[in-house]
Amino acid sequence: MRLGPVIRTCFRSSRSHPLRTGLLIFGIALGVAGVVAIDIARTSVSKSFELSTAALTAQATHQVLGHDFSLPQSLFVKIRTQAGIHKSAPVISRTVKAQELGDGSLTLMGIDPFSEGEFRPLGLVQGMSSEKLRQTLLEGQGVILSGSVARAHGLASGDTLTLVLGEETMPVAIGALVETGNRMTDGLILADIGLAQMLMAMKDRITRIDLILETPAQADRVRAMLGSGQVLVETGQRNQTIRGLSGSFETSLSAFSILVLFMGIFLIYNTVSFSVARRRTLTGIFRALGATQKDIFLAVIAEVLVYALVGSALGLGMGILLGKGAVQVVCATVSDMYFTLTVSQTHILAATLVKGALVGIGAALASALAPALNAAQTPPVTLMQASFFEGRMTRLIPALAVSGLVLMVGALVLFRLDRGGMGLVFSGVFMIFGGASLLAPALILALARSLDRLAGTGPGRIMAKMGIRNLRRSLSRTSVLIASLMVVISVYIGIDTMTHSFRQSLITWVDGNIGGDVHVASLDDRHPALAPGLVDRVTSLPGVAEVSAYNIHRSFSRQSGEVHVFSYVIDTSKKEWIWLDPAAGDGTGEQTARLLDQGWMVVSEIFARQNGLVPESAPQGGMTVVMDTLGGRRTFRVAGIFRDFFMGGGRAVVSRKAMKTFWGKDEITAMQVFLFPDFGNESGAIAKTMDRIRAVSDDPGRLHLRSGPGIKSSILAVFDNTFLITTALQVLTALVALTGIINSVMALILERSRELGILRACGAEPFQVRTLVLWECGAAGFMAGLLSLPLGLLLSWVLVDVVNFRAFGWTYDVRMAPATLVMALGFSTLAALGAGWIPAVKAAKIPVARALRTE
């Protein structure tokens, strides 16, 4: 038989059900859109990172840095004149905001116009020669801004820009606009180094020296010039360290991408298999009339391929739109948590689009493969009997359940492999979902039996019983529907439990570490030291129970980039220990303080990870870490590793003495003020205390006072922003679920139109038929919700203990939120009911006489 008539009939059959065909295409599109959107977000962050760092490091191969991110300008002169390194440039670099440019962060970069030629393409300033540019900078005519950024905010050369440094504002003039043809300079405000030093009150100091070193000998000559606490680092290595941090976040995005992909594949399989199953009789007739197995197989595949192409094209468009939104959210997260992305650009790689299209087409074809083979290989006579397939399904249930259990156990073994990379983890996630889906038919059967018994007897119950039994009767189809809904809901539970657990751990950490009622710091972060004596004066204020005063010092470490070193006068923080050296006992304040006094340090989990400190393989003699200090590199014993969510990256705590000795810092830069509970609970107590602190300060205008609750809510706001992408994923999840249910229920209703006709002929009113369909949908949703609870919790464990730990280095306990579970069950049931409404209404309106004629 020629293939044409078979394919033509398949398409005609689909055309007569436009809604179902549309839903199939939409299902494929949603799967593709999710994958494309997350991939765009990931590659855009990567590109934004490249652009942001490229603007800063430009052509430099090496950088000289101070342990406290500051160097004397004289060092630059020495390197140029004594070491003879002419390709060198002093740089001042700092993240600032500008009132006129909105909330985005920019890098204020102070450069020496005479040294810059080799590093940054300043000759590209529109209508201005390099000489003229130098003049602009040297004559103090102001700063240079990207032309595209200026135009976007209605600014022109000569306008005033109000820089925001910490809490201080400073007006500067825009001297010129730069047009580089790419977006590299979008995140930069260039200034002459002298102007930058003045703005940042750095006197004769600079942030770093950029170098282009061509031989190892040159590097040696530079090293010979360096004093203690000054290091020469390779630019690539440094960028890689910073990149590693946000790379972790991007890895977790990949995990979400895998989840979306799996949901997409499941949805596509669901819709395609329903579509093929719906035409079993037609296929049987074709086979009886002489169509070969190959004809049937190719016809099914050809039809699915056409829908896959249309769905994938639609999905690519939707993915690009969704991706553009996701880029903003993800860039904001990376900027908040890891590295300030001064350039935020949507970057769409051809590879992303190809990947999305391949996922759509591949998943659709793979989904069609089993049903197509099934249809092709089954004898024509059995193709016309739905009961044949259901009988076969029932016989397969034990084998499916055993395979499912084996897959799930295999996945758990993969997660437990110490050296397993993220690839293995993702494979494990796939196996968990696959295993659960294979196990689902057996569980659905058992659940349906229980619900049937629960439904009882009596008027009004008959529709419930019929609905539940219909699920059992069409198990080969309903199990796919319920399993796909189960997967979708479990993703919702997994993500929600993960974010809830993280949020709760964060709240515990905030309360234990920065739980003071009032926080005091310097308003001018160029001069962070608080006035000597202020701690004592604040301590003696009425209502004040305790003051925790400390020094935070931003230090450079070759191993982990930026490190915040803390030293406390009194450490009131409650640390949750991940690991403790035996010498630290159970980690009480006195025990660790004693070790800190002996020159040990305690470090945060992220710091430990960055420095390769692994508690499980701690050497006999204890763990040590090498830090760059004022006196050069020094090894510190590590007394303990604590759980930490400090957003500035790794954190190390040393004694006051060690801070002074090794980093030369003695001053107090911050304090937390704890109020007596009975006073603190009074309304206005915090404001009153702030007023009193200002009153006892010599320079109240320089004090930056913040309320503890305010800090807590701003930290939680950053956290919530971080997980916006997961919220978007949950919305996508809901859409996927609804589409899947509508499509499947429509197919089932169509298949049972004769039965519905009989019911109507026997005296069932339209509302009773509607009720029957809704019972069926509700029961399917309820079962999917119920089955998704253990799967969702398992997934949350995978996300928290495996993905988050391996990607971020964070550990926290899975905290089950009963509300999430109840909501998941409710959502699943309500979503199924909601999605079943249209099919139910259609079923109720079924033309009875015509339905009775249907065979």
Partner: protein, 221 residues
């Protein structure tokens, strides 16, 4: 309950395929009326119209003096389940319901208390020879047995009218005869109006009146 059909028109395919034109007929209460005719001439359509499953394009159908064609769908359905029992050629039992549940389905749809209905259903199942199989599902029964259950379902609500659409069409002649006898006996014994669409000449012996569908009309005799 008399069935009176007055000046009825019915066509399918948006009027392109007329089935009945100005058809009028009367099926008397308590009688067994047989409707004969070739395939595709509208015998099943006639039963659907009487049962209110389908609506006429023109004309009226009165069941016991009640004009059913003018009722809305829900009212027609309620009237049907309380007054009409339907027996189909393909048995049309609901596969997910047990025999007992199939028989009591109509009463349950009507919200009647289950006690009395259960007793009546048990009696009917016994009467059709399946009293000991009430908990089984239809797929375990032979065609003849399924039709017996369908007959019990049609009678359980004690309807005044029974409509049977080729009830023996899917059965062998021996079983068909048994079913036909059972149907006519049950209807006659209970004084029901039975309208029977059939090709079976054997059924003529049970008929009080015979009608033939011809030229879009129902002709007596």
């Amino acid at each position: 309950m008399d069935i009176l059909i007055s000046n009825l028109d019915k066509a399918y395919d948006k009027g392109r395929r007329p089935i009945f034109s100005n058809l009028s007929a009367r099926f008397e209460s308590g009688k067994v009326s047989m409707v004969l005719g070739p395939s595709g001439k509208g015998k099943s359509s006639l039963l659907n119209l009487i049962a209110g499953i389908d609506t006429p394009d023109k004309g009226e159908i009165f069941l016991g003096g009640t004009p059913v064609s003018g009722m809305d769908d829900s009212a027609r359905t309620r009237f049907r389940r309380r007054n009409i029992g339907f027996v189909f050629q393909s048995f049309n039992l609901i596969p997910v319901l047990t025999l007992m549940e199939n028989i009591t389905l109509v009463s349950q749809l009507d919200g009647k208390p289950s006690g009395g209905v259960q007793d009546r259903a048990t009696a009917l199942l016994t009467a059709v020879g399946l009293g000991d199989r009430s908990g089984e599902f239809p797929d375990r029964l032979s065609g003849g047995e399924q039709q017996r259950v369908a007959l019990a379902r049609a009678l359980v609500n004690d309807p005044e009218i029974i409509l049977a659409d080729e009830p023996t069409g899917n059965l062998d002649s021996e079983t068909g005869t048994e079913i036909l006898e059972l149907l006519c006996t049950q209807a006659s014994d209970r004084g029901k109006t039975l309208v029977l669409v059939t090709h079976s000449q054997g059924a003529l012996a049970h008929a009080d009146a015979v009608f033939t569908v011809s030229e879009r009309q129902l002709v007596a005799g």
